[in-house]
């Protein structure tokens, strides 16, 4: 298998950890000359997933660690995020009603909805007692590896 650019970062499961993760993502994007159009959707998706982990999976825990890998594979920017909290498949959460009037709007579920919309593919798996979420965003001007959205 050919070498591909990738970088693994571990951060604490706290707001400070999210800040560190966002900075690491910024650095990876800059190091590989990825433009803003590729970058911001990945940053938003990353924030949604990490906020879910810190707010739910690691709630009440101070020793939680989140491991992320940023990688360029073929035509995709791939971000893999792993935590060792309780098994939760965020992709299975109900989709919020984005057409509801203001008084019926609830913020819950909106983040995962955004992740699904902003990424070209998202995959969840549970392995070795860890939640593993893979976010994939097509690079501009590249033919897709596979058609369709995840």
């Amino acid at each position: 298998m050919a070498m591909m650019p990738s970088q693994t970062v571990c951060v604490a499961g706290t707001l400070d950890g999210i800040r560190a993760a966002t900075d690491a993502c910024d650095r990876f994007l800059a190091a590989h000359d990825l433009d803003r159009e590729t970058g911001w959707p990945v940053q938003v998706a990353l924030d949604e997933i990490l906020a879910n982990i810190v707010g739910h999976a690691y709630k009440g825990r101070s020793d939680g660690v989140i491991e992320m890998t940023f990688a360029l594979t073929g035509s995709m920017l791939v971000v893999t995020i792993a935590d060792d909290g309780p098994a939760v498949d965020p992709l299975a959460l109900p989709t919020p009603d984005v057409g509801a009037p203001l008084q019926d709007r609830r913020p819950g579920g909106l983040g995962i909805h955004l992740v699904k919309q902003l990424m070209h593919r998202v995959e969840y798996s549970r392995k070795d007692d860890r939640n593993c979420l893979v976010l994939m965003r097509q690079l501009p001007g590249q033919a897709p590896d596979e058609p369709g959205k995840g």
């Binding site: 999210i18 800040r19 911001w40 959707p41 938003v44 906020a51 955004l114």
Partner: protein, 113 residues
């Protein structure tokens, strides 16, 4: 996060900067909350200096809109870049808010409401 504020024609303008995400949204929430606590009922949030927003930021705006009673014209947003606009659109938030291209336009809409 650097948040600028001004009051113009009786309208409070709150202008955050950079990313509005889970690590910064509390600051925006505090700034808006303080303004509303002080009795302001006409609010503009100016996104001119905002790079992107995640659902943590959307939640802050949802709370503000609900506090203002959902009356259109009392909360207006302006100067949304493509990234911010796209997130609003995907979340179905655009119909919930008065959105103006410029701060002047947003202040005028609020002041006249």
């Amino acid at each position: 996060m650097d948040i600028q504020q001004e009051v113009r024609d009786g309208v409070t303008v709150v202008a955050p900067s950079g990313r509005i995400d889970s690590t910064t949204s509390a600051e925006l929430e505090q700034a808006i909350g303080k303004s509303l606590d002080g009795g302001n009922r006409k609010l503009v949030v100016d996104f001119e200096r905002v790079s992107y927003i995640s659902s943590a930021g959307l939640r802050v705006l949802l709370v503000a809109a609900k506090r203002l009673g959902g009356g259109k014209g009392t909360l207006a947003l302006c100067s949304l870049n493509d990234a911010v606009r796209q997130v609003f659109d995907l979340a179905g938030f655009l119909p919930l808010f008065t959105v103006e291209p410029t701060r002047d336009g947003a202040v005028a809409r609020c002041a006249g409401a």
